[in-house]
């Protein structure tokens, strides 16, 4: 039972972390390597609210807004000049990640921080006591997934974003302001990354480089999932399950690379497999 709950909550966390990256990749066709840095920014929002003694929930909107603002600036000044050089965009956003990491270090120091949990204790699920917070993460993942589904299918921006994902040339020819759509998507993706950082903070320790290991996992999942949130959910569940199983029965260290290795192999053998799912 614990195993099952572990699988579901691990998949949920992976999904939360990867969703923002996927949104950006889908619309802009660019891999945002500053994603890890924004996770870190979000986590430090939680640190700040804790240190100021504010309600820990306050960190969520704060992180989203800060992330979106930073994302907006990044899109305008770093990503936009590099649309036609996607590999360079990876590098530039990685460089931005270094800058953000060092700024955080200068401000907060290198030490590890801990934050107040948004909620504590355990809860009984069918006779197994399980961390309440990890279950909350599942809810959060569902909320984010449904939120995106609503955004894409229910709003103008979502429809425009879909149009840009499917056929950018046609979207432009129909008078959709593709620059605006890109900017909005990038801001949403960055905000979401920061939000994920807040949610992660209570489960791990917070330090200036905490985002990097998450970045690589999320990056691999997005490569496998292509541009579909459904495919991302499936990939998170499948590879998350593999990670939990390997960590539990073999070694946690090998578990850490399960997602990356399986994704790489999947891409080599069946590159389109998930995208079709």
């Amino acid at each position: 039972m614990t195993l099952l709950l572990d699988i579901i909550s691990t998949a949920a966390i992976l999904f939360i972390v990867a969703a923002g990256l996927l949104a950006i990749f889908g619309v802009l066709k660019i891999i945002n390597f500053a994603h890890g840095a924004w996770l870190t920014v979000g986590a430090y929002c939680a640190v700040v609210t804790t240190e100021l003694g504010l309600n820990p929930w306050f960190a969520l909107p704060l992180a989203f807004i800060l992330g979106a603002l930073l994302g907006g600036l990044t899109e305008r000044f770093i990503v936009r000049p590099l649309y036609r050089r996607p590999l360079d965009a990876i590098l530039a956003t990685w460089g931005l990640g270094i800058v953000i990491g060092q700024l955080i270090t200068l401000w907060f120091g290198r030490d590890v921080h801990f934050t107040t949990a948004l909620m504590q204790g355990t809860v009984d699920v069918l006779g197994t006591s399980y961390s309440f917070y990890r279950l909350f993460a599942v809810l959060a993942a569902l909320a984010i997934g449904l939120g995106f589904a609503f955004l894409l299918d229910g709003t103008r921006l979502g429809l425009s974003a879909q149009a840009v994902i499917m056929n950018e040339a046609l979207a432009r020819a129909l008078g959709i302001d593709t620059e605006k759509v890109r900017l909005a998507t990038f801001m949403a993706g960055a905000g979401l990354a920061a939000l994920a950082g807040v949610l992660l903070a209570p489960m791990t320790s917070v330090d200036p480089n905490m985002g990097v290991p998450w970045l690589t996992g999320a990056f691999m999942l997005v490569m496998v999932a292509g541009t579909s949130f459904g495919a991302l959910a499936v990939a998170c569940l499948l590879f998350g399950a593999a990670q939990v199983v390997v960590s539990t029965f073999l070694s946690p260290i090998l578990g850490g690379i399960t997602v990356a290795v399986l994704c790489a192999i999947t891409l080599r053998i069946r590159p389109k497999w998930f995208a079709r799912a």
Partner: protein
């Protein structure tokens, strides 16, 4: 119809990369007329339409709409101020519904209902099948959807790229009726890019032939037009 130029191309050149596909084209389309631009494949017709909309940058010359230059305006701005476009290559979002394809013609949903009613008047089948995916429509239905979408905004100037391609005669004549009606009752100016000269000449007020990226010949539509155009398109 008046003599004022709705659309004026002043010696425009444009193309892809180092190559100009369009070479110094000068053309005047009068307000309220249907103008047929014909030419064989690869002669630059599609490029010309894209250049007007700003989808391809001009290397020389200028475009004026209502006698005002539109240099430097984004495609989204041009379309918002009344230019409709029915493209030829990959013209529909295959995986989106008819409704969403129509919605994408407008920037907000406020005027959606009214605009939809307007195009249902021309193509009633759309109303019944709103949630069907565009990719599952037949070839003729897809073409009608493309035209309907271009008409959603009630454009003052309509650019149409090979709408009759691969269609049955009955659908072609249906489309011809719609365009004639649109020009006559709403005063819409239409620039029609075509290979099907029978269709084009059946509704055009004037015509021109594009050859190797330049205007080869142009005139008012008359009894000898067909043979003249055919001469230019000769095999």
């Amino acid at each position: 119809m008046s003599d004022a130029a709705k659309l004026q191309l002043n010696g425009i050149s444009s193309g892809y990369g180092a190559v100009d596909v369009i070479n110094e084209v000068t053309l005047s389309v009068r307000s309220g007329e249907i103008f047929a631009l014909m030419g064989k494949n690869g002669m630059g017709k599609t490029t010309l339409l894209k250049s007007i909309l700003g989808l391809i940058k001009l290397t020389r010359g200028s475009v004026a709409v209502d006698e005002k230059s539109i240099a430097g305006r984004k495609p989204s701005e041009l379309i918002a101020c009344g230019i409709g476009y029915a493209p030829q290559e990959q013209p529909l979002f295959q995986d989106l519904s008819i409704r969403d394809n129509l919605r994408l013609a407008l920037t907000s949903d406020r005027k959606l209902a009214a605009a939809q009613e307007r195009v249902y008047g021309y193509f009633p089948f759309l109303k019944e099948r709103l949630s069907q995916k565009a990719g599952t429509l037949s070839g003729g239905e897809q073409k009608m959807l493309i035209l309907a979408r271009a008409l959603m905004l009630q454009p003052k100037l309509l650019l149409i790229d090979e709408i009759s391609e691969g269609l049955q005669p009955s659908v072609v004549s249906k489309i011809a009726d719609v365009l004639k009606h649109e020009a006559a009752s709403n005063g819409t100016t239409i620039l029609l890019v075509e290979q099907n000269l029978d269709f084009a000449l059946s509704i055009a007020d004037r015509w021109a032939v594009l050859k190797l990226g330049a205007i080869d010949d142009q005139d008012t539509n008359g009894p000898d037009s067909r043979s003249r155009v055919l001469q230019h398109l000769k095999i």
